[in-house]
Symmetry: C2
Subunit: 209 residues, 2 copies
DNA sequence: AGGTTAGCTGGTCGATCGGTCAAATATTTG
DNA sequence: CAAATATTTGACCGATCGACCAGCTAACCT
C-alpha cells in the first residue's frame, strides 16, 4: 500500500498531493468545525474524489495526525526563534505570548483547526483519542518546564506553580481562534499585548520592577 | 403540540421528564463529547425511546438550548451570591474565580457539557449557531462590565483593558473541564488558588498591595 | 364504563458518514 | 511501443443520524 511507504520513498506527486489534502483539511476544519469536516467536504474543496484521500492516507485519523504534525511544526518554527532571541525571563514570556498571537494572525486557520482537533480529539466514544491529547499538549508541558527553569534562575518570582501558570497562559492564547469566530473584530494584537502585561505582572520578580 | 405549551401549562409528568432528559443530555455530552451525543445515546442512558425526546422537545436544538439555560442558571445561582458576599474589587475577583472552580468540582459534567456545546455550537455548516454564541458568552460580557466598574471606583488598577482581562480570566476557567479529561489528577482547588493569585497580581491597584 | 388526552414504543425515512474497490486514466519503465 | 505501476474516479457498503409517525398503553374526565 503506497500510504505505508516511508516518506523518503514517496514520489514528488504523492508529496505534493498529501500537502494539498492537508491544506484542504485545515481550511475545512477552520471553516466548518471538526465534526462537519467530512472527507467528502475536504475532497470537494480541492476538486478530487474521496478515494484519493483513502489512497494517500490510511484513514481520516492518519490525515488528522498529519495536520497536527504540520501545524505544530510550523508553529514551533515560527515561535521558538522569537522566544530565544530574548535573554531575560520576562522578555521571553512576552515574546512567547506575542509570537503565538502573531502566528495566529498570520495562520488563523492553522490555529482554529488544531484547537478544534484538540477539543474533539479529547472525546471519542471508545475512550481512545484520535490524536493523543498529551502529545498535542506538548506546548503546555514545555512552557511549564521553561517557567520552572526561569524561576530556578531567579528571573521570575519563585512563589507561583509553573504548571498552573502554563495552563493559564496557554488557555488565554488558545481561546483566540474561537474568539475570532464569535467576534471577527477581535483585535489580536491589542489582546496579545494585554495578556503579555497580565502575565508579566503575575510572574515578574519584585526586584526587577 | 405539547412541546409548544407554555412552561406554566406543563403537567407534572412533563416537567419531570424534561428535567430527566436534560440531565441525561448533560451526562452524555460530558462523557462522549457533543458530536457523539446522539438522541439515541441520550435516550438509552435513561431507558426511553428516542420518540420521547421528540415528544417533549421540538428537536435536538431545543433540547440543547434547554441544557444551556439550565446550566447557566445553576452556575449563576451558585456563583453570584459568593461574589457579592465580598466587598472589595480584589476579593470579588478572587471569589469569582474560586467559586467558578468550586462549581466545576461539584458539577463537573455541567461545565464539560456547556464548554462542549459552546465550542461545537460556534460552528455549523450553514453559518448559524445551534445556540447563539453571544448569548452563551454572557459570562465574559458581564465580567468585563464588572471589571470596568471596579476600575472606575479605583478598586483595581486603571491601566488594563477589562475586555481582554475578562477573556483571559474566562479562558483560564473554561480550560478546566478539558484539563480534567486530559489529566484526571488535575487539582482544581490548587489551580483555582493559583489563577486567583495570577489575576490578583495583574489587576490590583498598587496602593492596596 | 366509555371517551378523551397524555405519554410512550419501536419502526421507517432520507441524508450523510468513513471506508472500500473495480475500472479507468496517467505516468513511468524497459 | 507494450508492460508495469501510480493515481484517480465514482459507485457501493453498512452504520448512524435526527425527524417523523402509526399504534399502543396509561391516566384522566364525564
Amino acid at each position: 500500500m503506497e500510504t505505508e511507504r516511508e516518506p523518503e520513498q514517496r514520489t514528488f506527486t504523492e508529496i505534493a498531493r498529501r500537502q494539498q489534502i492537508v491544506g484542504a483539511a485545515i481550511d475545512t476544519i477552520a471553516e466548518v468545525g471538526y465534526a462537519q469536516a467530512s472527507l467528502a467536504r475536504i475532497a470537494a474543496r480541492i476538486g478530487i474524489s474521496k478515494g484519493v484521500i483513502s489512497y494517500h492516507f490510511t484513514g481520516k485519523d492518519d490525515l488528522i495526525k498529519q495536520v497536527v504534525v504540520d501545524v505544530i511544526e510550523a508553529g514551533r518554527a515560527y515561535i521558538l526563534p522569537r522566544v530565544f532571541a530574548e535573554s531575560t525571563g520576562p522578555a521571553r514570556i512576552r515574546a512567547y505570548i506575542e509570537s503565538n498571537l502573531a502566528f495566529m494572525r498570520e495562520h488563523r486557520n492553522y490555529m482554529v483547526a488544531i484547537v478544534e482537533i484538540l477539543r474533539n480529539g479529547a472525546f471519542t466514544a471508545d475512550g481512545g483519542r484520535r490524536v493523543d491529547g498529551r502529545d498535542i499538549d506538548v506546548a503546555t508541558r514545555l512552557l511549564k518546564e521553561e517557567l520552572a527553569r526561569l524561576q530556578a534562575k531567579g528571573e521570575l518570582r519563585g512563589d507561583f506553580d509553573p504548571g498552573a501558570m502554563a495552563v493559564a497562559i496557554r488557555a488565554a492564547i488558545d481561546v483566540v481562534p474561537h474568539r475570532l469566530v464569535l467576534d471577527p473584530d477581535f483585535e489580536i494584537g491589542k489582546y496579545g499585548n494585554e495578556i503579555a502585561n497580565i502575565f508579566d505582572r503575575a510572574t515578574r520578580s519584585d526586584d526587577t520592577q
